[in-house]
């Protein structure tokens, strides 16, 4: 039997109120991935974006999530502690922005890269703490790991 497989996404509930994201704290903790109609990528911390190729997203996202600027994440290893990058993994938010003309294929690939960045970090902690990859852990241990690196991938309305 063919089993359906795919990238699982949880959508936010419908609201008419647009979110405001203009304070300085949020700026530091927001990592923007912008895909335009020509499928070009502009990636980076808010206010510090760079043009990137698809395979550069993953390392950039990993170092952003794992930055641990305020040092409150005790399990994080290899953090840069850059004062301009994210404070800790539970505050780090990744925001995907796309155009109406962006192709679905590149969008899925970008999302896949961002999920892969989280998988990389979670696997790292899982192996260190429990000696197995994240997906092989029992559910209660997965929760512990997921609490260290919670997934925040938000999506803006198309430009």
């Amino acid at each position: 039997m063919d089993v359906d497989k795919g990238l699982m996404v949880k959508l936010p509930p419908w609201t008419d109120v647009p979110p405001d994201e203009n304070n300085e704290n949020k700026k530091r903790n927001t990592f923007i991935v912008l895909v335009n109609a020509n499928n070009e990528l502009l990636v980076g911390r808010k206010g510090d974006e760079k043009v990137m190729q698809l395979d550069e997203i993953r390392p950039a996202a990993v170092s952003f999530i794992n930055n641990n600027g305020d040092g409150s994440c005790t399990e994080c290893q290899g953090s840069n502690k850059d004062p301009r990058s994210s404070e800790n993994p539970s505050k780090a938010i990744i925001s995907i922005q796309h155009d109406r003309g962006t192709s679905y294929q590149i969008y899925v690939k970008v999302r896949n890269e961002l999920l892969a960045a989280y998988t990389e970090l979670r696997d790292d902690v899982s192996v260190r703490k429990f000696g197995a990859a994240f997906k092989d852990l029992p559910e209660n241990k997965q929760e512990i790991v997921a609490e260290i690196y919670p997934q925040f991938i938000s999506e803006a309305e198309p430009l």
Partner: protein
């Protein structure tokens, strides 16, 4: 010398039917193995993207599929990507009612696990997909799945854009 000679019957012997059950069972099993349940007739072209971070959708009964792609019947429907719900092409306005109806069909205790799987073509533009997502959000169907094929081991599969 006297010879004992078997008396040969002149008619041809009847065909042995001893192997008949074997043949019947063989055919039966053959069809059982090769038959798949009919799901929907695709009216749109769907070539799914590839990804690595995929999860299985193991409960088919809790999943509803929405297909996005350019119509196969270009004479009547043109080439602009369309939405297919069940066996027919639909417009964006039909999505909410369709999803709500599908959710009502499943057991109330399992309704929170209701998932909408979006099977969209590589070349569909995100404008259509985000309109669809907006409709799903309005219909309170918040668990969605972008259906993809697993990527091969080669990194080219993942980073190449066709």
């Amino acid at each position: 010398m006297a010879q004992i000679r078997k008396k040969k019957s002149k008619e041809t012997p009847p065909v042995s039917t001893a192997s008949l059950p074997d043949i019947v069972f063989m055919l039966l099993f053959f069809f059982m193995v090769t038959t798949t349940m009919r799901e929907v007739t695709l009216l749109v072209n769907v070539k799914k993207p590839t990804a690595t971070e995929i999860q299985k959708l193991d409960r088919k009964d809790l999943t509803t599929y929405i297909y996005l792609g350019s119509p196969k019947d270009t004479v009547n429907y043109g080439t602009e990507p369309r939405i297919q719900l069940d066996d027919q092409l639909a417009s964006l306005g039909d999505v909410q009612a369709f999803v709500i109806l599908k959710r009502e069909e499943i057991d109330p205790t399992e309704q929170p696990k209701f998932t909408v799987s979006i099977k969209a073509d590589n070349d569909v533009k995100m404008g259509l997909v985000s309109d669809l997502k907006e409709e799903l959000r309005k219909a309170q169907a918040l668990k969605i799945c972008y259906s993809t094929n697993p990527a091969g081991d080669k990194p080219e599969d993942l980073y190449k854009i066709y």
